[in-house]
């Protein structure tokens, strides 16, 4: 089985076939591992900076509010007790890391799986797909590709300011570097445009060294 995808030539305005590496784009996807990768990706994206003050960290509260016995009131040792208004928080969030680990080979398997399972979404473009940094130019390109109504378009491309600047204000387009492409973006998009130069980077990332 060979893996063939469409390649769009911007200048000629026509489609050609391009064969892709079967070891990367033609594998049976491992859905379990893809799930792990997405869970990891989303967990690692958390900053984990939520923080509350416990009773010992809230300012004040050092003095016993009233004596232990004889007042007729409930016993109280601190005005910052969690039961009091303005008191500390019981078991509140504290800064912590949500990072999950994943063996390198499994990460590569996840990327291979995602590229293979989403291969129908892939369209290859040349690096110079837009000629200027104007958003109108990019919209024109999407219209040519019949993608202007597609909800989530993902673009995988290396350093290219024209694409980055012209696409960044479009709500339905996301641009990522091939080095940063993850399972989440691949699965969560309706169309994936990959620049020809990025393919080599993706292959390098997806195959066990």
């Amino acid at each position: 089985m060979t893996v063939t995808v469409k390649k769009y030539d911007v200048k000629e305005n026509n489609y050609n076939d391009l064969e892709l590496n079967e070891a990367v784009f033609g594998q049976t996807p491992n859905v379990h591992v893809m799930h792990l990768a997405v869970v990891r990706q989303m967990a690692n994206a958390r900053t984990g900076t939520a923080c509350t003050l416990t009773r010992s960290e809230v300012r004040g509260g050092g003095k016993k509010p009233w004596k232990q016995k004889g007042t007729g009131r409930a016993r109280a040792g601190s005005i910052r007790s969690p039961l009091w208004k303005g008191g500390g928080v019981i078991f509140g969030p504290k800064p912590r890391s949500f990072e999950k680990e994943m063996p390198k080979k499994v990460r590569k398997l996840a990327l291979r799986s995602a590229l293979s399972s989403e291969v129908e979404k892939i369209l290859i473009l040349s690096h110079d797909m837009v000629s200027s940094h104007k958003t109108s130019d990019f919209v024109k390109l999407l219209k040519n590709l019949d993608l202007d109504k597609v909800k989530k378009v993902l673009i995988v491309i290396g350093d290219n300011n024209n694409v980055r600047l012209s696409a960044r204000n479009l709500p339905n387009v996301k641009v990522v570097y091939p080095e940063n492409l993850g399972v989440y973006d691949l699965v969560n998009s309706n169309k994936v445009l990959i620049s020809e130069e990025s393919i080599a980077v993706l292959e390098g990332r997806a195959i066990n060294a």
Partner: protein, 158 residues
């Protein structure tokens, strides 16, 4: 495929026990903690090996040193990828690799491992081989001589 189609493989996840959610669950009243005492408290229970204050087994028995493997063999390991520099059809053995500093001075025996590629035919003498090393050496047209097996067969015949 969509994000919601991603899920763990069957059997990979376990449902959490919902303790204290009614008598009929069997984990109701005491939440599977039994009646009263240290083990019922959060974080309760004694440390591993603690026998209630009685001198525990691991302290009752004397400490013993020197539980080592008798007649342990310290293998020096070399991958087949490192053998490409030798002359084709030559013999590669412990002494050759020792002289080339592929194995360190502590090694008493040689094991060939299968990482990387081997492009030339070699006669490799060693005390142990990994399965992939044997396969790669023989695929390259070489020969594998297992010194351990030869010693064994010698002692058998005696």
């Amino acid at each position: 495929m969509r994000l919601e189609d991603l899920k763990p493989a069957k059997g990979a996840t376990k449902k959490a026990k919902r303790k204290g959610r009614g008598f009929a669950t069997g984990m109701g009243k005491t939440s599977s903690r039994g009646n009263n005492g240290q083990g019922q408290r959060s974080g309760g229970g004694v440390r591993a090996g603690f026998e209630g204050g009685q001198m525990p087994l691991f302290r009752r028995l004397p400490k013993k040193k020197y539980f080592f493997v008798v007649n342990q063999i310290n293998y020096g390991t070399v991958n087949v990828s490192e053998l490409n520099k030798y002359e084709a059809n030559s013999v590669v053995n412990f002494e050759v690799l020792r002289n080339d500093r592929k194995i360190d001075n502590h090694a008493q025996a040689l094991k060939i491992l299968g990482n990387g590629e081997l492009n030339i035919a070699l006669t490799v003498e060693a005390h142990a081989f990994s399965a992939s090393a044997i396969q790669k050496i023989e695929a390259a047209g070489g020969k594998v001589i297992n010194l351990m097996q030869e010693e064994d067969s010698k002692s058998d015949s005696n």
